[in-house]
Amino acid sequence: MEVIRILRLLGLGAALWVGVAAAPVGDSHWAFQPIGDPALPAAAGPGQPSGSPVDAFIRARLDAAGRSPAPAADRRTLLRRLSFDLRGLPPTAAEVEAFAADPDPDAFARWVDRYLESPQYGERWGRWWLDLARYADTNGQDENKVMANAWRYRDWVIRSFNANQPLDDFITDQIAGDLRPTNGVPESVLLDRWIATGFLVLGPKMLAEQDKPKLVMDLVDEQLDVVGRAFLGLTVSCARCHDHKYDPISARDYYALAGIFKSTRAMENLDFVSKFNERPVSTREHLEAVETHARAVASAGNAWTNALNAATASLRRQWRTELATALEAPPPWERPADTPMLERLAQWRSADPDVNPAVPLLRALADRQDGIGIAAEIEALEADSAAASGLRLGPGRVGRGFQAAGQNFLERPHQPELEPLQLTVESWVRVSAFPKEGDARRWLVSKNPNEWEEGHYALVLDRDRPGAYLNIGGGREHMAAVWSEPVKLEANRWHHLAFTYDGQTLRLFVDGVAAGETPVGRARVPGTHPLMIARRPDGYVTFRGQLDGIRIYRQALSPEAVAASARHPEAAPGDGWVAAWDFDELTESERLAADRAALRDALLGAGGILEIPADPRAWLTVADREELDRLAADWDRVKAAAPPPPAYALAVAEDKPVDLPVFNRGNHLSPGPEPVPRGFLKVAYRPSDPLPPAGASGRLELAQWLTSPNQPLTARVLANRVWQAHFGEGLVRTSDNFGVRGEPPSHPELLDWLARQLMESGWNLKRLHRILLNSATWQQASSGSDEPGGAAPDPDNRLLSRFPRQRLEAEMVRDALLAVSERLDPAMGGRLVSWKNDEYAPADDVSAASVRRSVYLPVVRDRVFDVFTLFDFANPSVGTAKRAPTVVAHQALFFMNSPLVRDSARALAASLADGCEDEGVRLERVYRRLYGRPPADSERARARRFLDSASPAAGGDRAACWSAMCQSLMSANEFLYLE
């Protein structure tokens, strides 16, 4: 392996690697052959079109079949066809008239250019790409979370198409935009490249899948599936479980590619409901403004906090002095209450010592004659954080116990004897009050960081239910837990808790009685972290109550021994104990610490005489108060001047590069013996293209391979997709499958010629549009002449002896309804909803009322806008190569009853009537606007008949009759289909 790695570093490994691979079956398949450089077919029949080489290829096959092309479509038909094709919108009546009246034979080519340069081109063709990119604004699948920044990807796609970004660049940005060289690249382009990688994050993900490694591998598979089909026209993901059944794609190929995406980060976290990855995409200037502002806010905030702290400190100083003075005065402290402090002290003095145990402590302080003075004593206590968080004493089960106040705990450093293989942990516990909300777990005695980490053992409470944790093996999946069933604890009562582990079973005891057990069956692995009392070692300093008689044994006590222990709280620990706490026999230093803690609580703790109230302003001087108010106002002012928050986009990032093994039957739990080096499909790889390097995911090399002139698929696949978009069907009708099970191309030489044109023009898409649209083939009529006798049948029009009639796509239906009724808002870009990122997708209350272009409506997976669904919108959960136009009765109901059609009809009728009384002129207008032609006499007569005959049903309302007629005209086949 090492040799191969070095060879790969030298750029030589590829040859070796490919060389050793057995030649797969099927690699003689046409699609894997190099793209040819076919000569144009020679003219054969009469009337050979002169304009486009496309026609030569098409004509050659027609001639061979004894068929002839249809005549050219008339100009009105042609412009309607072109306008929908390039802009997704109907032409205006004025445009149709201008073109129809233009005597220039090259007029059509100028209209092609004009529409290609219109911004609506990007909206129409961007949407074409969004189908393949399975674009959506929500995750779909099990947890339909909002991807609130997906729209930036959509808008980038639209911008890219309008800018005619070379397709190889366009692909590279989406696969590896974050990895491209950045030297001399303008910042706006860098941001766009990051946004482009959202392509890899957009897919549906099983966010609540609890088998997280599976979630990741399913995500990798989804990415591979989209990339494989969109660019390569291959069903690569079939090779996840086994070598591809038909195509020369081995499971090793699959995992070579999968390793690239496994080395790429597409998830921000893998929490219970996991979160997709994003990154900030604001300009440096913007980010700097945000940072500057954050600093200014922090600084203004600090000024206020500092002033408050200074005022508070001065208040504390003053109180301390007053208290010391009062205490140092001889008893009985009968000074008049002439300061706030003395007033407080007066209340204190009268307090019952049993209720206020601090009073005797305070007296004791007053009695001390150690010479440092009471004020200095208090000051020292204030600074003593150990006294705040350490040992406190309270009543015990026997004698004294440990008093936990939700802020103090005991720590014992790690010692090997605290890590026995078998063990018992027991303790007496008395809970003051059970937590009412939030995480109600409380750790009583525990060792090693937490329950998800190796070696953790703990006696815990979940509200009033005792339990024990034991982790052997590390990680969430190795956490064992046992919870008491059904015994619960009572507040303010002593209970005895214990758990034992005998190397097999974790057993819990409450008040000496078995309360539950769970099998574990593994040997403990000793930890090395401290042991803690009244907290979890890495957090949860939250227990309030008393503990006593804590013992740790290096063996699992028998149930009888535990029961005996619960019966005899006064007994000393038995044989085999390794640690014990009774809190009765204290060392001098422990006693001192406990006293100091108690005194500190009495003075500074909750309800202490020196406790500074949460809002101390009432106690401050007028000057201090005014200064604080001024600073607070400053702070608010600075906060209010915030720049907009940084923008985020769905994006990937590099992860640790790894090579994956082949997973047997696609199961991530059964990896094969050895990792497969990251790489590409062998059948379409030529050694001159670089392979993924050791130190990076390999996405950049993947993009280079996808767009390499040596790689025979991408250019063919894309040229075919563009052809399909213009002609309804691809030259290869299975435009997502160029594999063995796909259909072969109807015109293989033409496909290769177009693919070569595409590559050699620098992947210039608009040029490809021009080649196709300016061909006679595209411009012929859709109603062909009758088949000549003896001609080979061509029921599917594969030879293109006429233009295939096409139904408007879902967005075109809606946009056309809005456009002809003069309601369409042409604003570009942006987001129409204000849904929060990562929230569950709310109801779409925008789409039905919006008059923006359809491409900007939110795409909610699993709840796609019904108008779109009805007209065969792409399923946004899977890349869609081709929408299948259906005709169902429900669509008729839509034209009959939907608010969109009815409102559009009303608006259309109103706009016709605007400033025009003459119904004949209105009729002329509506036909030109909807169909691009004037009405025939028969149509004028029919319209007049309708307007008159419908009048009674419409209650004599002429405007309603016009609306009704407009609705019917909009529902007609002539409106919905492109000739």
Partner: protein, 464 residues
């Protein structure tokens, strides 16, 4: 591929399919271009003898507990409070503690003596018509994944719903109605993914009736027009038809455009028929009582069950009625009790009604949730998600009556014998409808897809 026979004319297609316009209306109406028309036709019918013509799926969203309903486990009573004596699964949704007995008593019903808990006395009384499937198991422990698995066979990828596959396989019996209707579906946990046709033609998409609205307001989208004016609409359609036919004459024959002209007439008829089906006023007081329609507690699901029968008897192939939310991580005793009391009578009413109308023989009723619940306790009074063994039952439609298939362990935790994966359930459902799950395929993205992917065994033991 260049020598395919010319496409059938509509008339030829009618003859060849032997199903008349009714069959063709929704399938043939697709009339999409070229290959997808062919794809929309049923796969060659060389399959099995159909035992059922249609399915009613009563879906209990959230996951009703099998050990508290139909999978009686005396050992769970005996060992309640003790730990589970064997290992829990590798992946769990959350932690549970010890075994917990059912809060409900079980008692035997009918000649079959099936043990049913006191949650379902009415359904229990129908036990001799039921065929219990006690070892159904899936893989996903979260709602979304489990719903998608049960409805589409995949908790990983976007796949067509079983209702869509059945519509695709059998077509419709009624030209004026969709072939797959889902009443009051859930919009979460996979949402439309659970009744989506995915890559199958859109005509096989489930048509939602309600969902997110009270059941009595449920209707088909665009069916009711607030400003309806039938006379004006008729005039509009006549005007439209004339214009369309003139257009057709101008451009030459085109079956797709012809189909679209007819689709408006079909829509007009649907508009008449569908509201009639949704209107329950014509049901007799006895029937209303049978379903519990007049009891506020049961009225909502009664309405769904009655609608299911009405749609089903008019030939809708797959009707789903959804009820929820059976997800008791806490308060199992209270909420399972409440939920069962909402559905027990309506379900029994539906079974009895179908039987008395002679429809039960050809209608397969399927009951169940996306998973069961753990025999072990969660929290104080809850059970967690449990996909490893749970109970569904079927009735009618050619299944053994008064029968129980599959055995779980003594606590109902894992399947022991005669296991039935969700894929097996799907294979069996299709087989009962006369469809071979291995032959019912659809070519998409270069691959032949099946409801059962590469899995699934038909469980013949449950067939009568």
């Amino acid at each position: 591929m260049h020598d395919l026979p010319p496409p059938l004319t509509r008339r030829q297609m009618l003859r060849q399919c032997g199903a008349g316009f009714g069959h063709l209306a929704l399938l043939g109406l697709l009339a999409s271009s070229g290959s997808s028309t062919k794809a929309a036709l049923p796969a060659p019918a060389a399959m099995f003898r159909p035992r059922a013509k249609r399915i009613i799926f009563l879906f209990m969203h959230g996951g009703p507990s099998h050990v508290d309903t139909f999978d009686w486990k005396p050992a769970l009573v005996r060992d309640s409070g003790k730990p589970l004596p064997f290992a829990k699964p590798r992946i769990q949704f959350a932690q549970t503690s010890n075994l917990r007995k059912s809060p409900w008593e079980f008692r035997p019903y009918g000649e079959s003596g099936a043990m049913v808990s006191d949650l379902f006395p009415e359904v229990g009384a129908c036990a001799d018509d039921l065929c219990f499937l006690k070892t159904v198991h899936g893989t996903n422990e979260a709602h979304g994944g489990a719903l998608l698995k049960l409805h589409t066979g995949s908790d990983t990828f976007v796949r067509p719903s079983m209702g869509s596959w059945i519509s695709y396989g059998l077509g419709t019996e009624n030209a004026n109605l969709p072939s797959f209707i889902t009443i009051n579906p859930t919009l979460g946990h996979g949402g439309v993914g659970n009744w989506s046709s995915a890559f199958l033609p859109a005509v096989h998409q489930g048509t939602p009736l309600g969902g997110g609205v009270p059941v009595e307001k449920a209707t088909v989208h665009y069916l009711h027009d607030p400003g309806e004016n039938p006379a004006l609409q008729r005039a509009q359609l006549d005007f439209l038809g004339e214009a369309n036919r003139e257009h057709l004459a101008r451009i030459g024959a085109d079956p797709v455009l012809e189909a679209r002209i007819e689709s408006f007439e079909l829509a007009f008829r649907m508009q008449t028929e569908a509201p009639e089906i949704l209107n329950l006023d014509g049901e007799t007081p006895a029937t209303r009582r049978l379903y519990g329609l007049d009891d506020p507690k049961t009225a909502s699901f009664a309405r769904q069950c009655l609608l299911a029968r009405r749609l089903s008897e008019r030939g809708v192939r797959f009707v789903q009625a959804t009820h929820g939310y059976w997800d008791q991580h806490e308060d199992l005793t209270r909420d399972h009790g409440r939920l069962a009391s909402e559905v027990d009578r309506p379900i029994a009413g539906l079974l009895r009604d179908l039987k008395s109308r002679g429809l039960l023989d050809e209608t397969l009723v399927l009951w169940g949730g996306e998973f069961g619940r753990t025999p072990t306790l969660q929290g104080r009074d809850g059970r967690d998600h449990h996909p490893h063994a749970f109970t569904l039952w079927m009735a009618g439609g050619g299944v053994k009556a008064g029968f129980s298939y599959g055995v779980t362990d003594e606590y109902g935790f894992y399947c022991v014998d005669q296991k039935m994966h969700v894929h097996d359930l799907h294979a069996t459902l299709l087989a009962l409808l006369g469809l071979d799950h291995e032959a019912l395929t659809y070519r998409h993205a270069g691959r032949d897809f099946r409801l059962t992917d590469v899995h699934g065994n038909v469980i013949r033991a449950v067939m009568a």
